[in-house]
């Protein structure tokens, strides 16, 4: 008979958890979100003999409490879903901090499989972990691995295959008597809420949210008061201290440190002498950012052009005219194209982010940029997404995943759409080429600057409105440098890209179809002409733009099409005015320099594009995506009107 085991994989960030998870699951991977939140959940099913293992990747955390989203997910999964066993991946070179997490998991009363990972790095630092002694102390097998090279994974499988007979660890931290008494009281009186020592302690030190039970609350308040009275000091400090003392005692018995060869530390130190140097750190960071931008966009864009050309060629292969042909060409093919066109940039970006993360540079970059970004109300790690926004908002929004804190993710994702992406440039160029021939670059530059200013203001205002409680802290590990694994990076990039195609793709594709329907109906009308539904909508809304100085139906239709992608605005004008030469004179007659300016600002600010909205929705949720649309449309319109009206008042145009 087949058996099913659910095995959670937990561990500190930078403990090599992802590598080990990849080694265990191979390509059998399901990527989704944890219920109710936008944190990624990875699951892999593997069949060994008559046993089916379901591995669940728990977010990488240092502790487990209700204080952060990632930790809450980890806690809920471990304490409520109660997996059959938990693999705790431990960075052998960082024994204390990693064993602290291990201690927490043990206190949950689950079966634990401790994996001492990166033993090679530890050895280089002169740290030897004695697995035999550890196994003897805890009464459970310890497995040594070097997950990045697949070493020790077969030993881990042996332990996993015997997971049914595995014992629970026998050695746990002991607390001062009053605490132990309180834990006992809680576990006896409230077996549901305080199902394990971990939960009882969490209820006592407010590490977990106290369940809604008046009786429990009263008892807890009484116990807390009594303990704090008997033992001077605060409970959370006291319990953490005892846990660390427990870890120290284990380290004393089972960890051997030789003072001599501290090569690896020295190497990390030596690299950091430059990378996080007070004077060199900044320039090096800017160079790294330039390189990232260059690789993502300059190297990625030829692929984008090929994809575009490919889909264009494909649509030419469809012969004939008529509604069906148009549906296939403008609807289906361009819909699929609209999704796939982002793939090269997204793949390259997440490949590079994985390399930066794996090597240890990403946190250094955040360290260097933090002072500046913090002054703007954002986190050091927000710099990369914001910068990428200049190239394309879509990968930029997806990059907010690198931020740990939900508030920072939301604020950064909502600020990114105002970074002037490269798709907006053709619109600027069209208009400055006609109206601002002498000041082309100044005008374009000022638009970019305006975008940055709006992004900062939006982030600051939204923080004030939605996240009034103190700013999220920067308490970040700078891991030792590693040689990054290209395979892991490629896999991570592949996961992200598929995720984008699957989850954001349908939304983008659907919008392209809707716009096509609006532009092609009623049957027989010329595509996107004044008689089409979209043309009529354009004529209907055009008066709204009168105060902004552009009230032609063509401008309104172009803005509606701009929802697909900003550069489409130019193409739409081309179609509506009938060709390139006609376009220049038509725009020249329908716009003035002032209304051109207000139109450009409108283009910069209103809804970035459907794909950006789709990824914002995917990354931070529908509610925030709707807010982003609302703010950007209102703000774009108001700014356009403001520019036009003020300009007229002071006598320009």
């Amino acid at each position: 008979m087949g058996r099913n085991y659910v095995v959670a994989v937990a561990g500190n960030p930078n403990s090599g958890k992802t590598s080990l998870f990849n080694r265990l699951t191979g390509s059998n991977l399901k990527v989704g979100n944890w219920p109710g939140v936008t944190v990624e959940k990875k699951e892999g099913k593997v069949v060994r003999g008559d046993i089916t293992f379901t591995f669940v990747d728990i977010p990488g955390t240092y502790g487990i409490s209700a204080r952060s989203e990632d930790e809450r997910i980890a806690m809920d999964f471990l304490t409520k879903d109660r997996p059959d066993a938990v693999i705790v991946v431990l960075d052998s070179a960082n024994f204390n901090r990693n064993f602290y997490l291990f201690t927490l998991v043990m206190e949950m009363g689950l079966k634990v499989i401790p994996v001492l990972n990166m033993t090679d790095m530890a050895e280089k630092r002169g740290i030897t972990l004695h697995t035999d002694r550890l196994s003897a102390v805890f009464g459970i097998p310890f497995v040594k691995t070097i997950a990045s090279r697949g070493k020790g994974v077969s030993d881990l499988w042996k332990v996993l295959e015997g997971v049914g007979e595995l014992e629970k660890p026998v050695h746990l931290p002991a607390y001062p008597k009053p605490v132990e008494t309180a834990v006992e009281t809680l576990m006896n009186r409230f077996p549901k809420e305080a199902a394990s020592r971990f939960q009882a302690l969490g209820i006592l030190d407010s590490g977990i949210v106290i369940p809604d039970n008046d009786e429990l609350r009263q008892v807890v308040a009484g116990l807390q008061g009594k303990i704090e009275e008997e033992l001077a000091g605060e409970l959370d400090e006291l319990i953490a201290e005892k846990r660390y003392e427990f870890v120290y005692s284990i380290a004393k018995e089972c960890v051997e440190r030789r003072m001599s060869t501290e090569q690896k530390v020295a190497l990390t130190d030596r690299i950091d002498r430059f990378v996080t140097n007070r004077y060199l750190g900044g320039p090096l960071f800017l160079f790294a950012m330039w390189l990232l931008f260059f690789l993502v966009f300059t190297v990625g864009n030829p692929f984008v052009a090929w994809i575009n050309a490919g889909f264009e060629a494909l649509s030419f292969l469809i012969p004939g005219t008529g509604l069906f042909t148009s549906f296939v060409r403008e609807g289906l093919i361009s819909g699929v194209g609209a999704v796939l066109v982002f793939v090269p940039n997204i793949f390259i970006l997440f490949f590079l982010i994985a390399i930066m993360e794996d090597s240890g540079y990403l946190s250094r970059a955040a360290f260097v940029a933090d002072r500046f970004m913090h002054a703007l109300g954002l986190h050091g790690k927000s710099f990369i997404p914001m910068l990428l926004g200049f190239g394309c908002n879509i990968p930029a929004v997806m990059a907010v995943r690198t931020l740990e804190n939900e508030k920072d993710r939301v604020l950064t994702a909502l600020a990114i759409p105002y970074m002037s992406c490269s798709a907006r440039l053709p619109v600027y160029l069209l208009f400055v080429g006609i109206f601002f021939t002498r000041y082309q670059s100044t005008v374009v530059f000022s638009l970019y600057l305006l975008g940055i200013i709006i992004a900062i203001l939006v982030a600051r205002v939204l923080r004030k409105v939605f996240f009034t409680k103190a700013v999220s802290p920067l308490v970040m590990e700078l891991p030792a440098y590693h040689v990054p694994s290209l395979k892991t990076a490629a896999r991570s990039a592949g996961i992200r890209t598929t995720f984008f195609i699957k989850k954001a793709g349908t939304f983008i594709f659907g919008t392209v179809l809707v716009i096509w329907i609006l532009a092609s109906l009623p049957v027989g009308v010329q595509y996107a002409s004044a008689g089409s539904v979209i043309g009529r909508i354009g004529s209907a809304v055009a008066p709204i733009f009168h105060p902004a100085g552009f009230d032609s139906w063509q401008a309104a239709v172009a803005l509606i099409f701009g929802f697909l992608a900003k550069e489409v605005v130019v193409g739409t004008f081309g179609v509506l005015y009938g060709g390139q030469t006609a376009l220049t004179s038509a725009i020249g007659s329908q716009f003035s320099a002032l209304s051109a300016m207000s139109f450009m600002v409108m283009t910069l600010v209103y809804i970035p594009c459907v794909a950006t909205i789709a990824v914002i929705r995917r990354e931070i949720g529908t509610k925030w995506a709707a807010l982003s649309v609302g703010i950007s449309v209102t703000l774009g319109y108001l700014l356009a009107v403001l520019i036009f009206q003020v300009g007229r008042l002071i006598g320009i145009g």
């Binding site: 240092y62 502790g63 409490s65 204080r67 952060s68 960082n94 024994f95 204390n96 901090r97 602290y100 001062p176 008597k177 407010s206 590490g207 009275e229 008997e230 033992l231 001077a232 959370d236 400090e237 953490a240 201290e241 660390y244 990390t268 950091d272 996080t276 140097n277 007070r278 004077y279 750190g281 900044g282 946190s363 360290f367 260097v368 933090d370 002072r371 913090h374 050091g380 409680k469 103190a470 700013v471 802290p473 920067l474 308490v475 970040m476 590990e477 700078l478 891991p479 030792a480």
Partner: protein
């Protein structure tokens, strides 16, 4: 009315009972740094008044009455100490010795007011107003004159980690931040009693890189300010 030393005895016995299974008169003598016979005569007196149970060569335990009194003294001591140490920011050793003097004379009214003040501070801090921090800053800016200044420099080695210079090894005494920050720091091994050193600084002086538990952690100025340390 008990003399001060009697209250001291009860308090010490109570503290010892937390550590030891069985308290002997010699343990108490060691605590006070006096000879065992003087402890024995004091114990006899306490026994007469019904505060302790004690047989010759046997274990010392507090009676119910004695326990009540001991807890009361201990509470006054602890509250006084906490008030001096964490509200006023008086250095550890001074707070400790002052609290020893206060515990016998302070009224329960004042103790209750001090406790209310702690809850008041916590409530304020949860709302983002750190009165302790403002007071610390106020004291730091206030010019200190003459003899007092030398005395303070000598004694007050405690400071927040944000004020420590690079490369100096300190011991962590206390974490003062909001619950969220404190929990994160504790989880990452920033534990009272651990030693810590600033390894490097960001481009404009902050954030800082600190060495703790054998790894490198970065903190902004805001977080570093909540870590109270003492130079070694």
């Amino acid at each position: 009315m008990l003399t001060h030393t009697a209250e001291d005895y009860l308090e010490r016995i109570y503290m010892l009972s937390l550590k030891l299974e069985r308290i002997k008169s010699s343990d108490i003598a060691k605590e006070f740094g006096i000879r065992t016979p003087s402890v024995i005569s004091a114990l006899k007196l306490l026994k007469e008044k019904g505060f302790v149970h004690y047989q010759k060569h046997g274990a010392v335990t507090l009676s119910e009455k004695g326990m009540e009194r001991a807890l009361d003294v201990y509470d006054r001591h602890k509250t006084g100490y906490r008030f001096l140490r964490f509200v006023l920011g008086v250095p550890d050793d001074i707070a400790s010795s002052d609290a020893c003097g206060m515990e016998h004379s302070i009224s329960s009214e004042t103790v209750a007011a001090m406790k209310d003040f702690f809850s008041f501070l916590t409530a304020k801090k949860d709302k983002g107003v750190d009165i302790q921090d403002e007071f610390r800053k106020f004291r730091k800016e206030k010019p200190i004159l003459g003899k007092d200044k030398d005395k303070l420099d000598e004694k007050s080695e405690t400071q927040s980690l944000s004020a420590v210079k690079d490369g100096i090894i300190c011991t962590i005494l206390k974490l003062d931040g909001s619950r969220e920050v404190k929990r994160r720091l504790l989880d990452m091994g920033v534990i009272p009693g651990e030693s810590v050193e600033i390894r490097n600084r960001g481009p404009l002086g902050f954030p800082i890189e600190i060495l703790i538990q054998g790894y490198v952690l970065t903190l902004r100025k805001d977080e570093a300010e909540t870590v109270i340390v003492r130079g070694n």
